[in-house]
Subunit: 226 residues, 2 copies
């Protein structure tokens, strides 16, 4: 008798990862690169986007803005003539503290995928849960403000591990803080050895060129995936 | 025939509230007042506690320290000779981004309730979920750092509503920030009209006496509940 080979499913995906893969397939078909942009509340995600989204050579960018409620950040970015879609977790999703793959999927129909090369998904401000939910992105970026203290990588290690780039923001404030930058970078290296980082100030513009170049590299249509 | 009167349960409690009430009853029996201390990551909760816990006239204080993992904040406070209990959400609770009533209940046996008048529960740094879970506290305090921006009450309204006191921290940095304090207080009043607030700096000590007095008022054995 012919025996059927037993097939082993090696990685049982949870529902979120299944939907994240579907999102990713749709983004790939449209030729859109996607970054998931994460941080604690008030670390400066929107300010860092304002610095670059209107001037990304060769890259047409769109933004999916995640917030518990309101559209203040989306309004700021839309004023720069960048296509912005607002996704609120309050009404339909119970006030969730993060975006997940299904929320992003719900917004797919509202995204101008045919007209952009790069989609930046600005996540809800939170250092815990956003790191636990893939949404179909190519790369994850997190922002850590120097005002938050140098021990943050040790206290929220998953977030600092679950990213390809760390933007260390508000470095203009360093002279006024008891923040040990070397200690922060040491702590970062402890939880995510070798992860790329850029020191930036959305206020003074320091490091912004390097941040822009990074986004252009990820978002350029000719480039391979990260 | 005798008719039994139909009893109507007017407020169906969810499991968290049921356990929070049990916690509260235990705290009351022990004569311990409890505050739930909340903020975004890095807003300065631990630094503000360091400023006052060793010197609360007439109030014996203990701290329950909530973190995803590690005990860095607990170690800082323990060095001030205050009884500190660490509660990590990582190991047993799946890395939760907040404390809930059941987690606090799990720690009850480790708390020196007979030796303290006031228990400060330092929640996980997060501006969304901690506000959704009562843990059996008498009062809730939140810290908002001026580095986070003046629109935070509008973006995270539940957190700013679910507290009896807002500490506006890091005001020593105001000269170096584009932070409109009047606008922040206006926004705060929009989401929580009349809520008490204190401007503080854990660094310079400004406002710390008022913050200490507030805690003493809440924690004094002779006082009624807030």
């Amino acid at each position: 008798m012919h025996r059927t080979k037993v097939r082993i499913v090696e990685e049982a995906l949870d529902a979120n990862n299944t939907i994240a893969q579907a999102n990713r397939a749709d983004f790939d078909r449209a030729g859109v690169r996607v970054v998931n942009f994460m941080s604690a509340p008030g670390a400066g995600k929107t300010a860092l986007l304002e610095r670059v989204v209107a001037d990304l050579p060769g890259v047409r960018v769109g933004v999916l803005e995640g917030d518990v409620q309101g559209s203040m950040d989306a309004d700021r970015l839309a004023s720069l003539h960048v296509p912005v879609t607002q996704l609120n977790t309050d009404a339909g999703f119970g006030g969730e503290c993060h975006l997940d793959a299904n929320m992003v999927r719900s917004a797919l129909g509202e995204l101008p995928l045919d007209d952009i090369d790069l989609l930046v998904i600005e996540n809800v401000g939170n250092l815990v849960c956003p790191a636990e939910f893939r949404v179909g992105e190519d790369a994850r970026i997190m922002v850590s403000s120097v005002t938050e203290g140098e021990e943050k990588p040790l206290k929220y290690p998953l977030m600092f591990r679950a990213c390809e780039l760390v933007l260390v923001n508000k470095i203009d404030l360093l002279p006024h803080l008891d923040f040990d930058l070397d200690r922060f970078l040491y702590n970062l290296d402890q939880v995510h050895p070798g992860v790329e980082h850029i020191l930036v100030s959305a206020k003074t513009g320091e490091g912004i060129d390097e941040w822009r170049d990074w986004l252009v590299r990820v978002g350029s249509p000719a480039e391979a995936h990260v």
